[in-house]
């Protein structure tokens, strides 16, 4: 119990941020036409690649001779970067086709 209370106090501001962001996430998405479900999923997926930031921080803070951390960090960056770049590029490819069709109409 004490641990939970300690946890709560330690992260109070973050818990606020958490709650409001959840509500924001719900609100932003609640009215999406089915057509856009796939691009939306793909775009959201690219945003979840934000985890790469953690990997960058990790490497920047690591000792230059701590090769275990550095290698794992690089793996993290590669994985995260594939998610980010691939995710946004694939989403753009999908949406580009919607656009092209609109102008040619």
């Amino acid at each position: 119990m004490e641990t939970i209370l300690q946890f709560f106090n330690e992260y109070l501001l973050l818990i606020y941020l958490l709650l409001f962001t959840i509500i924001l996430g719900f609100e932003v998405i609640s009215k999406v036409p089915t057509v856009l479900h796939t691009p939306l999923m793909s775009g959201a997926n690219a945003i979840s690649g934000v985890v790469i930031i953690g990997a960058i921080i990790l490497i920047r803070r690591a000792e230059p001779d701590d090769y275990l951390t550095l290698s794992l960090g690089v793996i993290g960056i590669v994985l995260g970067m594939i998610n980010v770049v691939g995710g946004f590029a694939v989403t753009d490819r999908m949406l580009e086709m919607f656009k092209k069709k609109k102008t040619s109409k």
Partner: protein, 467 residues
């Protein structure tokens, strides 16, 4: 001080980019700009992280830039080369890699914690373990989802009897082990942490294993929100707000999207997760063996369509597999030139992802107003002369309306049997992805045209041209 403020401001704008980007992604006119906006937000966040003045940072930039170049190139090439039809698989892989990244980061923290080079409060340890668990489930779950969509994994071979109980068992053991690590902290060995990670990975596989068929999009969307949550948890580890905001946004919007998809199939999320199509042994009514589906010749089909007033094309995953969207548009143009009113009926879960068919048909330049959604299509189907079903199966199965024993009972479907004639393009009489037999194929108004969807339409185009 000023520099730090600028960096923090950059983070803030980056986070706003995510929010505004997602918002624009939910409307067709602004979607592309929305995606670019979110991408700009991400770039700003990455650059800000690169130059943020950490106290006593060693930077190690060559490692960072090397990793970013490698990952960036792989991601870019994969995204440019992938076929539009394989989009769901691609999204699934990308998503899994994000989860894997969270696993790697959490493990590094734990290595340092157990190596004695870094202290952690109970709250921090809890968050690290949480990131490890969610990221692990998301990683292996997404990879299995990829395998299933790509046809590399057979649903039935990865599902055990009483699989739901097995799943719950693994989850309980994993959570208990996590709780034990949480309470004992460094008092226990690092080996237990490894076992905890492996259990998370196994749970990811086991969790996705029994789910198949039309439920796959729901799972990918759910796993996507998991990756978001693991990114958010990792953000807590590094006390980084933009990771938290981005991760939670994806977590929340992914959850809503998952629920919307479940609603489109008229099922609850719980039902999707525990009542996988692969595991239910429901006997649908009517022995299939003694029923004979009637075939139609190419020539007949072409004549029927060419001289009808209205044709409704119902695309499904078969169209995607056969890459038949462009030739489909050609047939559409030919028919239109003879005054036939050609429309497309798009079921919300046709294909492997919601909106999958819209993307494919958009690629083939089919104008947007020709695509009818479920309700509009059902309203005009009774007055439609010919329905042409291209590789769709479960979304046109009458059992969903009238057979309570069927696993898809209650799912809204396209009532194609109300049209005057139905022509089904299909490779064989095998049941669809969900493994359910379809009475539509034996309906009195239905005629079958066997063969690969693309070849069949190609032949139809040839026949129509020769008329």
């Amino acid at each position: 001080m000023l520099f730090t403020s600028i960096i923090n401001l950059t983070y803030l704008i980056g986070a706003l980019g995510f929010v505004m980007g997602l918002r624009r992604l939910s409307s067709p006119d602004t979607a592309r700009r929305g995606n670019i906006l979110a991408g700009i937000g991400m770039s700003m966040a990455i650059i800000a992280t690169m130059v943020y003045p950490f106290a006593g940072a060693n930077n190690n930039y060559p490692w960072i830039i090397g990793g970013m170049l490698l990952g960036g190139i792989i991601g870019w090439v994969a995204a440019k080369k992938v076929q539009m039809t394989a989009m769901p698989q691609m999204v699934s892989i990308f998503n899994g890699l994000g989860g894997a990244c969270a696993v790697v980061l959490a493990m590094v923290e734990l290595v340092h914690y157990y190596g004695g080079t870094q202290a952690m409060s109970a709250g921090q340890l809890f968050i690290v373990l949480l990131a490890l668990l969610i990221g692990g489930v998301s990683f292996t779950g997404s990879m299995l989802a990829y395998g299933k969509l790509e046809g590399l994994v057979n649903d039935k071979k990865v599902t055990f009897p009483r699989h739901n109980i097995l799943n719950i068992g693994i989850l309980i053991i994993t959570v208990i082990l996590g709780g034990y690590i949480q309470i004992t902290g460094t008092g226990t060995t690092f080996g237990l942490v490894i076992i905890f990670m492996l259990l998370s990975l196994v749970y990811g596989l086991s969790f996705v294993a029994p789910i198949g068929g039309a439920d796959m999009p729901v799972v990918i969307s759910l796993l996507n929100s998991f990756t978001g949550l693991s990114a958010a948890a990792t953000g807590l580890i590094y006390d980084n707000q933009i990771m938290l905001v981005g991760g939670i946004l994806v977590g929340a919007s992914g959850t809503i999207l998952t629920v919307l998809m479940c609603q489109a199939m008229n099922r609850s999320l719980l039902n999707v997760l525990i009542g996988g199509f692969g595991s239910t042994q429901t006997s649908s009514k009517g022995a299939v063996g003694d029923q004979i589906a009637k075939e139609v010749s190419l020539n007949d089909a072409a004549i029927q369509m060419y001289y009808s007033k209205s044709v409704m094309i119902v695309p499904g995953y078969g169209l995607a597999v056969a890459q038949a969207q462009k030739i489909c548009k050609e047939l559409d143009d030919l028919l239109e030139s003879n005054g036939v009113d050609v429309k497309y009926a798009i079921h919300p879960v046709a294909g492997r992802m919601p909106g999958h068919m819209n993307v494919l048909l958009a690629e083939a330049d089919v104008p947007y107003p020709k695509l009818l959604d479920l309700e509009d299509a059902n309203a005009v189907l009774p007055s439609t002369d010919i329905v042409l079903i291209v590789g769709a199966n479960d979304v046109v199965n009458p059992a969903a309306n009238d057979d309570p024993g069927s696993p898809i009972y209650g799912m809204p479907v396209l009532n194609v049997w109300e049209a005057k004639n139905v022509i089904v393009l299909k490779r064989s009489m095998n049941p669809g992805y969900a493994g359910i037999q379809n009475q539509l194929f034996f309906h009195e108004r239905t005629r079958m045209l066997f063969g690969d969807a693309k070849d069949s339409i190609q032949n139809l185009v040839g026949e129509v041209k020769s008329l």
